[in-house]
Symmetry: C2
Subunit: 318 residues, 2 copies
Amino acid sequence: MYRVGVDLGGTNISVGVIDENLNIIGRGKLKTNLPRSFDEIFSDIVKAVHMAVEDAGISMNDVLSIGAGTPGAVDLESGVVEFSSNLNFYNAPFKSELEKAFGKPAFVTNDANCAALAEKMLGTGKGVKDFIAITLGTGIGGGIFINDKMLTGVNGAAGETGHMVIQTEGIKCGCGRKGCWEKYASATAIVQQTKDALLKDNYKKSYIWNLIDNDISKVNGRTAFDAMRNCDELGTRIVEKYIYYLACGITNLINVFQPQAFCIGGGMSNEGDALLLPVVEMVEKERYSIHSSKQTKICIAELKNDAGVIGAALLNEI
Amino acid sequence: MYRVGVDLGGTNISVGVIDENLNIIGRGKLKTNLPRSFDEIFSDIVKAVHMAVEDAGISMNDVLSIGAGTPGAVDLESGVVEFSSNLNFYNAPFKSELEKAFGKPAFVTNDANCAALAEKMLGTGKGVKDFIAITLGTGIGGGIFINDKMLTGVNGAAGETGHMVIQTEGIKCGCGRKGCWEKYASATAIVQQTKDALLKDNYKKSYIWNLIDNDISKVNGRTAFDAMRNCDELGTRIVEKYIYYLACGITNLINVFQPQAFCIGGGMSNEGDALLLPVVEMVEKERYSIHSSKQTKICIAELKNDAGVIGAALLNEI
């Protein structure tokens, strides 16, 4: 039997069919095309599922279940997306619509939880009972596992580590708070930090200008790291400050959870050791458990882009 | 059968014998008298246990188990206190020494976890699967329960919510970090905030000076609240800022955990609704799950001073 996973994002609807070995054997993809209503988006989700099933060369009869990850907070029992600020969903009956459309058991949860679930079952979290996985992307998402179970909280909205304030009265966040971690340590944050540094310091000589063809709109999450690798002083400074903020939030979470493993995923994790090693060094200096014989292992996610789809397909197991 | 609970603090060694109805039927108390070595303190713990057993009118043969709560991080399997900065313990073999001294099963964990366990089993956490209890005292301690189990982490040091940074580059904390929550929202913090405000603003007319007989060393955790209740402007301002910091950390934890209930204990919780209601109001405005149909219930701890002793006695149940 096969399972279908839907990864609904702000840009794409990505669908995968996975086999019993958890390999993706068929794919479907359509644009989310925001802003659209839930009904409009849902009809494209149905199309993308059929595309993936056809691509896999199977029929819907061979499909056991359908899981979906979506930005926002999902009531796990009802499968209703109670709200998603990114998609502008309020009380969208995602699970019941999936069950109606396909006549299969359906499961819906938060997208960051899906990616974390895949990492837990197939990546760095394999065999790790207490596990935290964060994704550094547009924001900071997170999935938390305690005793092998996903932490969902009373309302399915647990794991919003990105909305932990690390700077009271800091940068305003879309969630309404000020100083949320994701405003300092997401991929979006380092892009902004790079732009701010270039403009504020009016640092004409920085190698960053070469990297971006003197066009500040070309700054991305890699720019400062690339500049640092070219021994650029400004790039190094931006990266150091970014790492400081990243390590601050990770240390907060380790002081609270002391998990066996803490995994960093999402776009920024492609920096690998250039990101990981200085983060580990800072956390090791600061964590409360500095004298403990057992410590949290901090690592980079093994699963890359498919984590969301695979995790969604695995939702029937939790 | 009876159980013995030991609450080891920086000031007192408090021991209680509890019966099957979880009532304390005998007590023993000695001074901790810091600084002393673990061996010296331990011999007084043994004495205090015998005092409590005698006070209960039972014999050691009637005692099923002995549990102890201590500041610091405890390896739960070995029962070794790996470190306690307050008591200056390093690798103190607390559990094995208790077992040797009394020939009973012994259990050792962090003191804030003990208080939280008592609140979980007998107070506001009864029947609540996902539960967080914090204590606002010298620092901020915490105990976290997920699916009815205490979150201990890989090394027994989980739950250190007080050492979550809410202000990068903020006030220096004894743990080595800067800007820890407990530097802003513990009882110690509001004492400092009150003193700072009195000195900085040179606010000669504040009613606070009456409350403290013009002696700044008499400021305590209640002072600003008492002044506020007397419509004092400075007192009101201090309390509002304190509540802001307290709500900030609580919102952080709710955004990450979304527990069913969140309980505030420790000295500051004696302020009751004067503390609780404005905290709830701020958290309700800021939490990420603002549109969810189910929300964390925030409340004041029911158990007061005996929580540590009772929780320690209950450690054999977890």
